[in-house]
């Protein structure tokens, strides 16, 4: 309780100062709202469901993109990790592709898919592929060589070997890559919405900004922080019950 009180002291003082300073007219900027107004704007957006709808749209694109990107990343990472000659051949190409900022692909994907979910998910998928690919590549190279020999002696084919030996052995480290990709996914999804895609939380932010609703903007930014935190926490709990898989590490 004592620790909680000490930890809460700074934010409470800060918020009180902000509230009083803004309301007394000492701090007045168009870009600045104050805590009570932000809270009310957030409540309003929750009440009319607008923020929930845009949250659903953003999460949909971020998670779909994360899923596609992770699948591609895991598959390619596993191939590179399992076959060193392929890695030597394809490595430079992947390094070059990885250097393209995912945001720079927005115009291309906009042409390919038009506005909407597909285009946004495609940009997110591209961005998510890389952290997962690199984590998987390293994880697969780190798989105990004995286990691969066991797979050899049991005459496992590529798919079986991947499913029964390589992926379970590499799971813990692949999870780290997916969690990094999750953070990336949310950032990229919101960025795409702010830049071109008229849907989701990013677009709501732009709308609030264009109508000079500073309070609503702050509320949405805080909301985004909460979403990011919750998604990460959710992924951690997905990882935890598979404790059996962690024994190898």
């Amino acid at each position: 309780m004592n620790r909680l009180a000490r930890g809460a002291l700074m934010p409470v003082l800060f918020l009180s100062f902000w509230e009083i300073a803004a309301k007394s007219g000492w701090l007045v900027y168009e870009s600045l709202s104050w805590p009570s107004a932000i809270f009310l704007a957030g409540m309003g957006a929750l009440a009319d469901g607008s923020i929930l709808l845009s949250t659903w749209q953003t999460c949909q694109a971020a998670l779909l993109g994360l899923f596609i990107g992770s699948c591609i990343g895991i598959l390619l990472g596993a191939i590179l990790g399992l076959w060193a000659p392929v890695a030597r051949m394809a490595g430079p190409t992947f390094d070059a592709l990885r250097a393209i900022p995912s945001i720079a692909l927005m115009p291309l994907f906009l042409l390919m898919f038009g506005w909407g979910l597909s285009m946004e998910a495609a940009v997110v998928a591209y961005a998510c592929t890389w952290p997962v690919l690199i984590a998987t590549w390293a994880a697969v190279r780190g798989v105990e060589p004995r286990l691969l020999e066991v797979a050899d002696v049991l005459e496992m084919r590529f798919g079986e070997r991947l499913r029964k030996i390589v992926l379970p052995a590499a799971l813990v480290r692949i999870n780290v890559g997916v969690r990094i990709a999750l953070g990336v996914a949310l950032v990229v999804a919101v960025t795409v919405e702010i830049a071109v895609n008229p849907r989701g939380l990013g677009y709501s932010l732009v709308l609030a900004q264009q109508s000079l609703k500073a309070d609503l903007m702050y509320a949405q930014i805080l909301w985004l922080a909460l979403i990011g935190y919750l998604l990460n926490a959710a992924l951690k709990t997905i990882e935890a019950p598979g404790g059996g898989a962690g024994r190898g590490a």
Partner: protein
């Protein structure tokens, strides 16, 4: 042509059927390096228990990995049932010394044993029954649902042996399987292995650095010398079976073999 020579190779000089036949095999890891194995020629008879003993660094493990197909000989021919060994095969099970690394830590004891059967026995009920029988046979029934990290070293090695048996191999290749175990556990496992070998008549090649273990287990003992690994001698072990930890080891013939091999290993 190959067929004719194949047929000729299937039987050894004494007419007994041959499982493995090595002809002037040499292994060199790097093109400029010294050979690890040189001019290795011997046969493994069908159903026999062959021990291979030698000082550390004599290439015992390399020899076994070559038999498993995990590496190819640089020179010479390695034949299994008359056909060249060109890669790993379910027919040749290998028991690794480092059982901890060879087991799947995310699978239970049963799951590890089942690994070898998932492709060959697709019906789950049938497979489960086979796994349960093997797990019980290896004295692991009470630990069937435990994970490898929850087991002692001896139990883990039992799991690995059970998995190798489940693949129903024609030959068992064992690389110092009991080397990391304490003396008591080692003796127990030696006797269990001999009982299994007697029951199943599976051809076994057993690598060890322990002279007494080699004699106690083997029908024959092949002695390797080091730098490069060559065959120093092959002896027939004329000790009666079933063998016994006390009486066999006190048998004058056991002691004579031990004396002879000890001198052989010291001489190099």
């Amino acid at each position: 042509m190959t067929l004719a020579s194949t047929k000729g190779d299937r039987h050894g000089a004494d007419g007994a059927p041959v499982a493995v036949s090595l002809r002037k095999v040499g292994v060199t890891y790097s093109p400029i390096g010294r050979p690890v194995l040189e001019d290795i020629s011997f046969d493994v008879r069908e159903g026999e228990f062959l021990s291979i003993v030698g000082p550390s660094g004599c290439g015992k493990t390399t020899l076994l990995r070559m038999l498993a197909g995990l590496l190819r000989p640089t020179t010479g021919d390695a034949l299994f049932n008359g056909a060249p060994i060109i890669g790993p095969s379910r027919e040749r099970a290998i028991v690794f010394q480092d059982y901890t690394n060879a087991l799947l830590p995310w699978r239970t004891v049963s799951g590890n044993v089942a690994l070898a059967l998932e492709k060959t026995v697709p019906v789950k009920a049938e497979r489960d029954a086979k796994v349960a029988a093997l797990v019980a046979k290896m004295g692991l029934a009470h630990a069937a649902d435990r994970f490898p990290t929850q087991l002692s070293g001896g139990m883990q090695q039992r799991v690995q042996i059970a998995r190798c048996l489940s693949q129903e191999p024609r030959i068992m290749l064992m690389d110092e399987p009991f080397g990391a175990l304490d003396a008591m556990t080692r003796q127990t496992l030696q006797d269990e292995l001999l009982a299994l070998a007697a029951e199943r008549r599976t051809t076994t090649v057993f690598i060890t650095h322990d002279l007494e273990e080699a004699i106690y287990l083997g029908d024959r003992v092949t002695v390797l010398s080091a730098n490069p690994g060559r065959i120093a001698e092959v002896i027939e072990v004329d000790l009666p079976r079933p063998r016994n930890q006390l009486t066999t080891r006190e048998d004058p013939r056991f002691l004579a073999h031990r004396h002879h091999l000890f001198g052989l290993l010291q001489g190099h």
